[in-house]
């Protein structure tokens, strides 16, 4: 019953059981995983939050953003700025004194407080998405045009972050912060705590997006994906719905960035660049766009593969990544979830015909 309310669709009994088992397994993960593996899983789950948000706008809104690296990065930097200030105490962060900065820049001040950093980490990316969305969707700049603009956004933000070394740490990014609120980030107990926080955040993001897509807003969003002008003729303003979804998606990416930084301990401009941003799209595409759950599956699978392949064979990863893009787009546009449901439906159809045949004979 709770699940039904949460996911917004009734679902079959097996589905509900599957969900409960999955959730239970996820909760028990710390019991049978080494701290290192658990850390990896936490990282993947954090990234999955971003993927769910990306699926919301791409799968349901038909808006392909190649700019989610920026939103992710803004969240990550917000958290890193707080952590850096906590680690530096009353003195300036180390990279600032290297660059000869005298006092803390004004926009660093709010990040002294944890709640402020937490809110800004989601608010800033959401606001940036809101502004970009407002100025583009309003003019019916859609499809490829929008996608190219988001990619340009990535490029300029990365150049800006690299260029303003005295404020952002430049290419090195922000690193060197061992603890949060007094908890050491590297002890197993903190890791387990972070795991549950991340898991809860992911569940929250999933539920939020599920609620959105099954609401009226989601229906208008989906309709404007399929026929924007028709939606307009019906008296809706698609740009509002799109801007809203884009802002939510940006905020979720910021949340993902914050949790990611806690796990990895570093954020640098190269993690929010053009290649990582487009990689994020592949997570969703591989899992299956327009399914939300597919985004999570795709993220975890692809990142596990990335960890495995880059460990054994670093040059090969880009080749695999490129090939995956082509294969997924050409051969399985609905992703793994699409393949799965096709297999299930063909199996059940075969099963059905067998039953029918048996009945006939009987």
């Amino acid at each position: 019953m709770v699940l039904k309310w949460l996911t917004g669709n009734p679902g079959s009994r097996t589905k509900r059981i599957l969900w409960s088992v999955l959730l239970l397994l996820m909760c028990m993960a710390p019991l049978f995983m080494t701290p290192f593996r658990l850390g990896l899983l936490t990282k993947f789950l954090a990234l999955a939050i971003l993927a769910v948000g990306l699926d919301l706008i791409w799968g349901y809104g038909g808006i392909l953003s190649l700019g989610h690296g920026v939103f992710f990065g803004l969240g990550a930097y917000a958290m890193a700025m707080y952590l850096k200030l906590e680690a530096s105490g009353t003195s300036l962060p180390d990279f600032m004194s290297w660059s000869g900065v005298e006092g803390l820049p004004w926009f660093w001040e709010p990040f002294r407080s944890f709640p402020a950093a937490l809110i800004l980490g989601m608010l800033l990316p959401a606001l940036l998405a809101l502004i970009l969305g407002f100025f583009t969707f309003r003019n019916r700049i859609v499809g490829v045009y929008f996608t190219i603009l988001t990619q340009a956004l990535v490029m300029i933000v990365v150049t800006l972050f690299v260029g303003k070394q005295e404020w952002t740490g430049g290419t090195n990014g922000l690193t060197g912060y061992p603890s949060i609120l007094g908890f050491n980030l590297n002890t197993p107990s903190t890791k387990i705590g972070l795991y549950f926080i991340t898991l809860a955040a992911l569940a929250g993001a999933y539920v939020l997006c599920r609620r959105i897509v099954s609401s009226r807003v989601g229906q208008v969003l989906e309709a404007s994906r399929d026929g924007e002008n028709r939606v307009r003729f019906l008296g809706f303003d698609p740009s509002r719905y799109k801007t809203f979804a884009f802002a939510v998606s940006g905020g979720l990416a910021g949340l993902a960035g914050m949790l990611f930084v806690l796990q990895v301990g570093i954020i640098s401009p190269s993690m929010m660049g053009i290649v990582p941003s487009i990689e994020m799209v592949l997570w969703v595409a591989l899992g299956g766009r327009g399914t939300l759950i597919g985004a999570i599956i795709g993220t975890v699978l692809l990142n596990s593969a990335k960890t495995g392949i880059s460990e054994a064979y670093p040059e090969g990863w880009l080749l695999v990544l490129g090939a995956l893009f082509v294969i997924v787009v050409v051969l399985m546009p609905k992703g793994l979830v699409g393949v799965w449901s096709k297999v299930v439906s063909s199996l059940s159809r075969r099963g059905g015909t067998v039953h029918a045949a048996v009945r006939k004979e009987g």
């Binding site: 003019n139 490829v144 996608t147 924007e228 990544l321 893009f325 082509v326």
Partner: protein
């Protein structure tokens, strides 16, 4: 005054390179509604073709002939890039018509693979191409202003390519077919134009121009497997700003972005300059969402 001349020259130089890269993009996007993210890698292929041609000339040709290698390299780059582009269209892109966002992702994947393959063949570090000796030095306008021949050569090269494109599109039978398909694909098909062949040919030509761009880039510095990615985003912005369907839009877009980029970079910093250009483009799109020049159409989705 001297400052202004230098400014204009630098702006023109940047614009000409952008234009060379964006030309192919604009044509394929206008015609097929396909965003070719592997365009940057076609540039890279052109650049490495030049590198290989130079190597062959050093190895097998008399020394006195070396300076002519660049002319040969221009041709080789065009042909190699055009062939690979044509193959790409045959194998992959024709399956993705009508799915512009998917074509974007798939071609990005192809670009990624091409980059990696280039890394396997030529190694990850950049390689340098020796420019022909007749392009060294520069044209002295006043005692303090010297315009490098290399950049002048690129501007002339772009002018030539542009003229050739213009003649092809507006003065030949093939070009007329291409414009017909661009305006109304179904109607052109009904009138007996093989849209498939037009698509393939256009894509090959667009890719070939990217190859020439790669060849030109070897004059400006060392080349590496990811050379295309430096330019590709700016080139896309040219297409967005200039609109699709008419050459003049692309020219204006390239000039606009190139000029403003150099202008802002002189008076602010490189990173702030980029931000300002981006803000200007978004502001401009508020006024003309379809870019400077757009084909008029009465169709609605």
């Amino acid at each position: 005054m001297e400052m202004t001349i230098l400014q204009v020259f630098n702006g023109l130089s940047v614009s000409s390179i952008l234009l060379l890269i964006a030309l192919g993009l604009a044509v394929t996007f206008g015609l097929m509604n396909v965003i070719n993210m592997a365009h940057g890698e076609l540039i890279m292929i052109g650049a490495y073709s030049t590198y290989v041609t130079q190597g062959l000339f050093t190895a097998y040709m008399p020394k006195s002939w070396f300076d002519t290698y660049f002319i040969a390299a221009l041709l080789v780059s065009f042909v190699v890039a055009a062939l690979i582009g044509w193959l790409l269209e045959m194998i992959l892109i024709r399956h993705l018509y009508g799915r512009p966002l998917d074509s974007l992702l798939a071609t990005w994947g192809v670009g990624m693979m091409l980059q990696q393959i280039a890394r396997f063949i030529f190694g990850a570090p950049n390689v340098a191409v020796t420019s022909p000796s007749w392009l060294n030095g520069g044209l002295a306008i006043t005692s303090s202003i010297v315009l490098p021949y290399k950049r002048l050569f690129i501007i002339v090269l772009v002018a030539l390519v542009l003229t050739a494109m213009y003649l092809y599109i507006y003065r030949t039978v093939q070009g007329r077919r291409m414009r017909a398909v661009m305006q109304n694909r179904n109607m052109a098909g009904c009138l007996g134009i093989s849209t498939r062949r037009v698509d393939g040919l256009t894509f090959a030509i667009g890719s070939g121009i990217a190859g020439i761009a790669g060849c030109a880039l070897t004059l400006l510095g060392p080349i590496g497997p990811s050379i295309g990615t430096y330019y590709i985003v700016d080139a896309f912005m040219v297409v967005v700003l200039g609109g699709v369907g008419k050459l003049i839009g692309t020219v204006a877009g390239a000039l606009g972005i190139g000029m403003f980029n150099t202008l802002f970079e002189t008076y602010t910093s490189a990173s702030i300059g980029k931000v300002l250009v981006f803000a200007l483009i978004v502001a401009f799109l508020q006024w003309k969402p379809r870019g400077l020049v757009a084909l008029r159409t009465r169709s609605l989705d």
